[in-house]
């Protein structure tokens, strides 16, 4: 992949990741100015689910990068988008947290402590966000070099934990009977299975190569 097409693709990726936020901000602006119905009958709820779903989707897309590269070697350049995607996932997660702190808890410490200690779905959500913090902090090239590839990789397994925690948070947050978290759960499940399957496949290929060399 040449440098110019990389720049174009990165610009497109930024646009695609930011477009939903732009949409949200525009409708937020509309709702406080000309059209109070711009964000629907329950705007707080709309913003909460919009940012929460965005976080989980981006996390899952980030996690899909490596398996796709392994499966289709021609798409190896996708690896250079992983950091961008992961950081956008964190950005959406921060917006989601801000929605809670601002619109639900009304900046009240008492309300937040109460929620975190008593409500497991909030605890799970907060845990997911907290796990994303060190990932975002160590996303620079400098910290990869500093930590060393192996340690950095090990630390970034946390992405899986954050995604799992986020999905649990989603299921615990919706009423029984509501199945909206199902698609994202299935997607994450596939990714979790993909890793060991791909490793097994690679080992078999390596074994075959060895054998043919021996013969």
């Amino acid at each position: 992949m040449n440098k110019r097409s990389m720049v174009v693709l990165k610009t497109l990726a930024h646009a695609a990741c930011f477009a939903p936020v732009a949409w949200l901000l525009w409708h937020l602006y509309l709702s406080v100015t000309t059209d109070p119905t711009a964000l629907g009958p329950d705007p707080t709820h709309t913003v909460t689910f919009f940012t929460g779903r965005g976080t989980l989707r981006l996390l899952v897309i980030t996690l899909a990068v490596t398996p796709i590269r392994r499966l289709i070697p021609q798409l190896a350049w996708l690896g250079r988008f992983r950091r961008l995607l992961g950081l956008y996932a964190f950005f959406y997660g921060c917006l989601h947290l801000l929605t809670y702190v601002w619109l639900y808890a009304g900046w009240s410490w008492a309300a937040m402590v109460d929620d975190i200690s008593q409500r497991r779905f909030i605890t799970a959500g907060l845990a997911a966000w907290l796990m994303m913090v060190p990932l975002a902090l160590t996303s620079t090239t400098w910290s990869i070099r500093k930590l060393g590839g192996k340690n950095w990789n090990r630390l970034h397994w946390l992405t899986y934990a954050a995604a799992i925690s986020g999905v649990i948070h989603y299921w615990w947050g919706v009423k029984s009977g509501v199945k909206t978290p199902l698609p994202i759960t299935l997607a994450l499940g596939v990714l979790l299975l993909a890793r060991p399957i791909l490793r097994w496949r690679q080992q078999r290929i390596a074994l075959r190569v060895q054998r043919s060399e021996a013969a």
Binding site: S31, P41, P43, L103, Y104, R119, G177
Partner: protein, 323 residues
């Protein structure tokens, strides 16, 4: 003590918000035609209004001493497009889309159980039984959102008296329509149909408990529980059964849908109570539907603000135990 304000405007006299909004939309549409670029969404809204209009049948109503004064009404649009009515789908906008299939005539309510004799009441008989009153009530959903709705109906006690229950009747059970020809009855809701709700006899006989036939001065839109439902304003919304086809008087606490599904989350009483949280979220505050985003949150009131009238029903009861 209920305070009545003078010159209260009947909700039926108020131009329904939908009509008012329509007028605006018309003007907006006129302006929009002059513009070359119409945003896709606006265009589709103008071409195909999302509203499933109610039959728009006016009901003649009288004022009520039981109406709650001084509240800002939720718009007709939101009351009819943000519904929990699982028979028509689990999403908030499903009932507005799917309830058009509900046939509200002919309609009867069967009365059975501990009564002098079994009876069947026709909906048109019920509509004429007592004068229909305009009653503005707060409406608080267990999911922590709220509305203010101008219902139309009369006290359920009037109807119960006509049912002639026996003194041994301690509870009353409401059964909603479950007909797969008219309703989706989604399997994934986890509900075993028909939907069942119940009240203690003294709760059912309380004058605030409303046998409801309409809202905003017209017949109930299908998605709001047409043609007849109950409204118990001091309890979470799910206690107020919709599209009722059967009423049963019984000796002991009847089984009720949400209580059967998750007793730790949905108590039989389910009185609005900011001091007793749902295990998964706080009940101290509520989001006002239709309010601007930064002013949506408001504190939830004990018994949804009807404590003066109903608290005495629960004297000596531990409301944390009987939530």
């Amino acid at each position: 003590m209920l305070i009545r304000t003078k010159d209260e405007i009947l909700s039926s006299e108020i131009t329904p918000q939908s009509v008012y909004m329509n007028r605006r939309k018309f003007m907006a549409a006129a302006a929009a035609t002059g513009l070359a670029a119409v945003a896709g969404e606006t265009a589709s809204r103008l071409l195909q209004p999302s509203r499933v209009e109610a039959a728009d049948e006016k009901l003649s109503t009288v004022k009520s001493q039981y109406s709650t004064p001084g509240l800002t009404l939720t718009s007709f649009q939101d009351i009819t497009h943000y519904n929990n009515f699982y028979e028509f789908g689990v999403n908030k906008d499903d009932p507005a889309k799917n309830a058009g299939r509900l046939r509200t005539r002919p309609w009867t309510i069967q009365v059975e159980g501990l009564v002098k004799e079994k009876k069947t009441f026709d909906i048109d008989t019920l509509l004429k039984m007592k004068p229909l009153e305009d009653r503005v009530y707060r409406f608080r959903c267990v999911e922590a959102w709220s509305m203010v709705i101008p219902w139309v109906g009369y006290s359920l006690s009037e109807f119960i008296n006509a049912c002639e229950p026996l003194p041994s009747a301690k509870f009353v059970q409401f059964i909603s329509l479950a007909d797969s020809k008219q309703e989706l009855l989604p399997w994934n809701s986890g509900i075993s149909w028909p939907y069942s709700e119940g009240l203690r006899m003294d709760e059912a006989m309380h004058p605030l408990t409303l046998l409801t036939f309409g809202l905003y001065g017209q017949v109930l839109p299908n998605q709001d529980g047409a043609p007849v439902r109950v409204i118990v304003p001091w309890k979470y919304g799910f206690k107020s059964a919709k599209s009722i086809v059967k009423i049963k008087f019984v000796k002991s606490q009847p089984s009720t849908t949400w209580n059967d599904m998750a007793a730790n989350e949905y108590g039989f009483y389910s009185n609005v109570n900011p001091n007793h949280d749902h295990p998964r979220w706080s009940q101290k505050r509520e989001r006002v539907i239709g309010a601007p985003i930064f002013r949506q949150l408001q504190p939830t009131l004990m018994f949804n603000g009807y404590g003066d009238q109903v608290a005495s029903l629960y004297n000596g009861m531990d409301l944390n135990k009987y939530y």
